[in-house]
Symmetry: C2
Subunit: 117 residues, 2 copies
DNA sequence: AACAATATATCCGTTTTCGATATATAATAT
DNA sequence: ATATTATATATCGAAAACGGATATATTGTT
Protein backbone atom coordinates (compact mmCIF):
# COMPACT_ATOMS: atom_id res chain seq x y z
CA UNK A 1 0.00 0.00 0.00
CA UNK A 2 1.19 3.45 -0.88
CA UNK A 3 1.23 5.53 2.26
CA UNK A 4 0.49 9.19 1.85
CA UNK A 5 3.29 11.71 2.05
CA UNK A 6 4.14 13.79 5.09
CA UNK A 7 3.87 17.24 3.58
CA UNK A 8 4.28 18.87 0.20
CA UNK A 9 6.95 21.25 1.43
CA UNK A 10 8.59 21.87 4.75
CA UNK A 11 7.95 25.26 6.34
CA UNK A 12 11.04 27.47 6.20
CA UNK A 13 11.50 27.25 9.98
CA UNK A 14 11.36 23.47 9.98
CA UNK A 15 13.77 23.37 7.06
CA UNK A 16 16.36 25.52 8.78
CA UNK A 17 16.06 23.68 12.08
CA UNK A 18 16.58 20.34 10.34
CA UNK A 19 19.56 21.81 8.53
CA UNK A 20 21.07 23.02 11.79
CA UNK A 21 20.81 19.49 13.19
CA UNK A 22 22.13 17.63 10.15
CA UNK A 23 25.59 16.92 11.52
CA UNK A 24 25.28 17.20 15.27
CA UNK A 25 22.95 17.28 18.20
CA UNK A 26 22.11 20.76 19.39
CA UNK A 27 19.98 22.34 22.07
CA UNK A 28 17.30 24.95 21.34
CA UNK A 29 19.27 28.11 21.84
CA UNK A 30 22.17 26.64 19.87
CA UNK A 31 19.83 25.91 16.95
CA UNK A 32 18.67 29.52 17.04
CA UNK A 33 22.24 30.80 16.86
CA UNK A 34 23.24 28.28 14.21
CA UNK A 35 20.40 29.28 11.88
CA UNK A 36 21.43 32.89 12.25
CA UNK A 37 25.08 32.06 11.65
CA UNK A 38 24.44 29.76 8.68
CA UNK A 39 22.33 32.42 6.96
CA UNK A 40 24.89 35.18 7.50
CA UNK A 41 22.60 36.82 10.02
CA UNK A 42 19.77 37.17 7.53
CA UNK A 43 17.39 34.82 9.30
CA UNK A 44 16.65 35.45 12.94
CA UNK A 45 14.37 32.97 14.64
CA UNK A 46 12.54 34.18 17.71
CA UNK A 47 11.75 31.91 20.66
CA UNK A 48 8.09 31.60 19.66
CA UNK A 49 8.97 30.16 16.28
CA UNK A 50 11.82 28.05 17.63
CA UNK A 51 10.14 26.29 20.53
CA UNK A 52 6.81 26.07 18.74
CA UNK A 53 8.50 24.40 15.79
CA UNK A 54 10.49 22.05 18.02
CA UNK A 55 7.30 20.92 19.72
CA UNK A 56 5.63 20.16 16.40
CA UNK A 57 8.71 18.48 14.99
CA UNK A 58 8.95 16.18 18.00
CA UNK A 59 5.29 15.26 17.57
CA UNK A 60 5.83 14.65 13.85
CA UNK A 61 8.88 12.48 14.45
CA UNK A 62 11.31 14.69 12.54
CA UNK A 63 13.55 15.10 15.59
CA UNK A 64 13.95 13.40 18.95
CA UNK A 65 15.41 14.37 22.25
CA UNK A 66 18.94 13.14 22.96
CA UNK A 67 19.21 12.42 26.65
CA UNK A 68 22.94 11.79 26.70
CA UNK A 69 24.58 14.69 28.47
CA UNK A 70 28.00 16.03 27.55
CA UNK A 71 30.83 16.30 30.08
CA UNK A 72 29.31 18.09 33.09
CA UNK A 73 32.10 20.61 32.91
CA UNK A 74 30.81 21.89 29.57
CA UNK A 75 27.17 21.20 30.19
CA UNK A 76 24.36 23.47 31.26
CA UNK A 77 21.58 21.51 32.86
CA UNK A 78 18.92 23.84 31.53
CA UNK A 79 19.62 22.61 28.00
CA UNK A 80 17.65 20.08 26.02
CA UNK A 81 19.45 18.42 23.16
CA UNK A 82 17.80 17.32 19.92
CA UNK A 83 18.86 15.17 17.01
CA UNK A 84 17.45 14.24 13.62
CA UNK A 85 15.50 11.03 13.25
CA UNK A 86 15.92 8.98 10.10
CA UNK A 87 12.57 10.32 8.98
CA UNK A 88 13.70 13.89 9.57
CA UNK A 89 16.90 13.26 7.64
CA UNK A 90 14.89 11.88 4.75
CA UNK A 91 12.55 14.87 4.73
CA UNK A 92 15.46 17.30 4.77
CA UNK A 93 17.13 15.47 1.93
CA UNK A 94 13.94 15.59 -0.15
CA UNK A 95 13.51 19.29 0.49
CA UNK A 96 17.12 20.03 -0.44
CA UNK A 97 16.54 18.16 -3.67
CA UNK A 98 13.40 20.17 -4.43
CA UNK A 99 15.22 23.45 -3.89
CA UNK A 100 18.17 22.15 -5.86
CA UNK A 101 15.90 21.41 -8.78
CA UNK A 102 14.32 24.84 -8.48
CA UNK A 103 17.73 26.46 -8.68
CA UNK A 104 18.70 24.35 -11.67
CA UNK A 105 15.47 25.36 -13.36
CA UNK A 106 16.08 29.03 -12.67
CA UNK A 107 19.53 28.77 -14.22
CA UNK A 108 18.18 26.95 -17.24
CA UNK A 109 15.54 29.59 -17.78
CA UNK A 110 18.15 32.28 -17.51
CA UNK A 111 20.15 30.62 -20.23
CA UNK A 112 17.18 30.09 -22.51
CA UNK A 113 16.02 33.64 -22.00
CA UNK A 114 19.49 34.83 -23.03
CA UNK A 115 19.38 32.79 -26.19
CA UNK A 116 15.96 34.03 -27.15
CA UNK A 117 16.93 37.66 -27.01
CA UNK B 1 17.15 55.65 6.99
CA UNK B 2 17.47 51.91 6.88
CA UNK B 3 14.12 50.55 5.84
CA UNK B 4 13.13 47.22 7.37
CA UNK B 5 13.24 44.15 5.24
CA UNK B 6 10.23 42.55 3.57
CA UNK B 7 10.35 39.12 5.16
CA UNK B 8 12.98 36.80 6.52
CA UNK B 9 12.04 34.02 4.14
CA UNK B 10 9.46 33.62 1.42
CA UNK B 11 6.72 31.11 2.10
CA UNK B 12 7.07 28.02 -0.08
CA UNK B 13 3.95 28.94 -2.08
CA UNK B 14 5.21 32.43 -2.79
CA UNK B 15 8.60 31.05 -3.75
CA UNK B 16 7.19 28.60 -6.27
CA UNK B 17 4.81 31.15 -7.78
CA UNK B 18 7.66 33.62 -8.25
CA UNK B 19 9.73 30.87 -9.83
CA UNK B 20 6.92 30.02 -12.24
CA UNK B 21 6.84 33.66 -13.34
CA UNK B 22 10.61 33.94 -13.62
CA UNK B 23 10.80 34.01 -17.40
CA UNK B 24 7.28 34.67 -18.64
CA UNK B 25 3.90 36.07 -17.79
CA UNK B 26 1.37 33.47 -16.79
CA UNK B 27 -2.25 33.34 -15.69
CA UNK B 28 -3.37 31.70 -12.43
CA UNK B 29 -4.27 28.28 -13.68
CA UNK B 30 -1.08 28.18 -15.74
CA UNK B 31 0.98 28.97 -12.62
CA UNK B 32 -0.73 26.10 -10.84
CA UNK B 33 0.15 23.69 -13.61
CA UNK B 34 3.67 25.02 -13.96
CA UNK B 35 4.45 24.53 -10.28
CA UNK B 36 3.19 20.98 -10.54
CA UNK B 37 5.18 20.32 -13.70
CA UNK B 38 8.38 21.96 -12.44
CA UNK B 39 8.31 19.86 -9.26
CA UNK B 40 7.68 16.58 -11.14
CA UNK B 41 4.18 16.47 -9.76
CA UNK B 42 5.39 16.55 -6.17
CA UNK B 43 3.85 19.90 -5.32
CA UNK B 44 0.17 20.40 -6.01
CA UNK B 45 -1.18 23.84 -5.25
CA UNK B 46 -4.92 24.05 -4.60
CA UNK B 47 -7.00 27.06 -5.64
CA UNK B 48 -7.20 28.37 -2.09
CA UNK B 49 -3.44 28.63 -1.79
CA UNK B 50 -2.98 29.87 -5.35
CA UNK B 51 -5.47 32.72 -5.46
CA UNK B 52 -4.92 33.63 -1.84
CA UNK B 53 -1.19 33.89 -2.48
CA UNK B 54 -1.71 35.89 -5.69
CA UNK B 55 -3.86 38.38 -3.83
CA UNK B 56 -1.22 38.85 -1.12
CA UNK B 57 1.61 39.03 -3.62
CA UNK B 58 -0.16 41.75 -5.58
CA UNK B 59 -0.67 43.71 -2.37
CA UNK B 60 2.98 43.22 -1.43
CA UNK B 61 4.22 44.34 -4.84
CA UNK B 62 5.91 41.04 -5.71
CA UNK B 63 3.85 40.62 -8.86
CA UNK B 64 1.60 42.81 -10.99
CA UNK B 65 -1.14 42.20 -13.46
CA UNK B 66 -0.17 42.29 -17.13
CA UNK B 67 -3.05 43.70 -19.10
CA UNK B 68 -1.65 43.05 -22.55
CA UNK B 69 -3.65 40.25 -24.08
CA UNK B 70 -2.18 37.69 -26.43
CA UNK B 71 -3.56 37.06 -29.93
CA UNK B 72 -7.33 36.63 -29.45
CA UNK B 73 -7.12 33.35 -31.31
CA UNK B 74 -5.04 31.82 -28.49
CA UNK B 75 -6.57 33.83 -25.69
CA UNK B 76 -9.21 32.95 -23.13
CA UNK B 77 -10.88 36.06 -21.81
CA UNK B 78 -11.38 34.53 -18.38
CA UNK B 79 -7.65 34.60 -17.80
CA UNK B 80 -5.69 37.11 -15.80
CA UNK B 81 -1.99 37.37 -16.52
CA UNK B 82 0.68 38.17 -13.96
CA UNK B 83 4.33 39.10 -14.13
CA UNK B 84 7.18 39.66 -11.70
CA UNK B 85 7.93 43.16 -10.52
CA UNK B 86 11.54 44.18 -10.02
CA UNK B 87 10.96 43.83 -6.30
CA UNK B 88 9.62 40.30 -6.79
CA UNK B 89 12.58 39.38 -8.93
CA UNK B 90 14.93 40.66 -6.27
CA UNK B 91 13.17 38.70 -3.53
CA UNK B 92 13.26 35.52 -5.61
CA UNK B 93 16.93 36.02 -6.33
CA UNK B 94 17.70 36.44 -2.64
CA UNK B 95 15.74 33.35 -1.74
CA UNK B 96 17.47 31.29 -4.41
CA UNK B 97 20.76 32.44 -2.97
CA UNK B 98 19.75 31.43 0.54
CA UNK B 99 18.71 27.97 -0.56
CA UNK B 100 21.83 27.69 -2.67
CA UNK B 101 23.93 28.42 0.39
CA UNK B 102 21.97 25.89 2.42
CA UNK B 103 22.60 23.25 -0.22
CA UNK B 104 26.28 24.09 -0.40
CA UNK B 105 26.50 23.78 3.36
CA UNK B 106 24.75 20.43 3.34
CA UNK B 107 26.87 19.12 0.49
CA UNK B 108 29.96 20.21 2.33
CA UNK B 109 29.02 17.81 5.08
CA UNK B 110 28.30 15.03 2.62
CA UNK B 111 24.64 14.86 3.39
CA UNK B 112 23.73 15.21 -0.23
CA UNK B 113 25.65 12.89 -2.48
CA UNK B 114 25.43 13.19 -6.20
CA UNK B 115 23.36 16.31 -6.53
CA UNK B 116 25.01 18.49 -9.10
CA UNK B 117 24.20 22.12 -9.27
C1' DA C 1 -25.84 16.27 -25.27
C1' DA C 2 -22.93 14.90 -21.68
C1' DC C 3 -18.73 15.16 -19.59
C1' DA C 4 -14.06 16.53 -18.40
C1' DA C 5 -10.88 20.15 -18.24
C1' DT C 6 -10.01 24.95 -17.83
C1' DA C 7 -10.28 29.20 -15.10
C1' DT C 8 -11.15 32.23 -11.36
C1' DA C 9 -12.78 33.08 -6.76
C1' DT C 10 -14.33 32.88 -1.89
C1' DC C 11 -15.23 30.64 2.56
C1' DC C 12 -13.50 28.91 6.68
C1' DG C 13 -11.28 25.77 9.96
C1' DT C 14 -6.54 24.54 10.83
C1' DT C 15 -1.78 25.41 11.08
C1' DT C 16 2.16 28.37 11.44
C1' DT C 17 4.44 32.54 12.50
C1' DC C 18 6.52 35.70 15.52
C1' DG C 19 6.74 39.41 18.81
C1' DA C 20 5.80 39.94 23.66
C1' DT C 21 6.21 38.23 27.96
C1' DA C 22 7.87 35.34 31.68
C1' DT C 23 11.24 32.96 34.46
C1' DA C 24 15.64 31.53 35.85
C1' DT C 25 20.59 30.60 35.52
C1' DA C 26 25.47 31.57 33.83
C1' DA C 27 28.88 34.74 32.66
C1' DT C 28 30.86 39.17 32.57
C1' DA C 29 31.72 43.85 33.79
C1' DT C 30 31.81 47.68 37.07
C1' DA D 1 29.83 42.32 45.76
C1' DT D 2 26.55 43.79 42.53
C1' DA D 3 24.61 44.96 38.28
C1' DT D 4 24.09 43.79 33.76
C1' DT D 5 24.20 41.06 29.76
C1' DA D 6 23.92 36.62 27.63
C1' DT D 7 22.13 32.13 27.86
C1' DA D 8 18.18 28.99 27.98
C1' DT D 9 13.53 27.34 27.84
C1' DA D 10 8.64 28.15 27.51
C1' DT D 11 3.86 30.00 26.73
C1' DC D 12 0.40 33.30 24.95
C1' DG D 13 -2.23 35.28 21.40
C1' DA D 14 -3.00 38.05 17.34
C1' DA D 15 -2.01 37.90 12.62
C1' DA D 16 -0.74 35.51 8.55
C1' DA D 17 -0.80 31.59 5.62
C1' DC D 18 -2.46 27.16 4.19
C1' DG D 19 -5.48 24.19 1.78
C1' DG D 20 -9.71 21.55 1.08
C1' DA D 21 -14.45 22.42 -0.08
C1' DT D 22 -17.45 24.79 -2.66
C1' DA D 23 -19.21 27.80 -6.32
C1' DT D 24 -19.71 29.41 -11.01
C1' DA D 25 -18.97 29.60 -15.75
C1' DT D 26 -16.63 28.61 -20.00
C1' DT D 27 -14.03 25.66 -23.27
C1' DG D 28 -12.87 21.37 -25.29
C1' DT D 29 -13.77 16.56 -26.03
C1' DT D 30 -16.34 12.16 -26.67
Amino acid sequence: MKQKQYRQTLTPSVFYILLALYNKERHGYEIMKQVEYASDGKIKMGPGTLYGSIKRMLADGLIEEAYERPDPEFDDERRKYYRLTEFGRKQLSMELKRYGNAIKLARLKNLLLGLEL
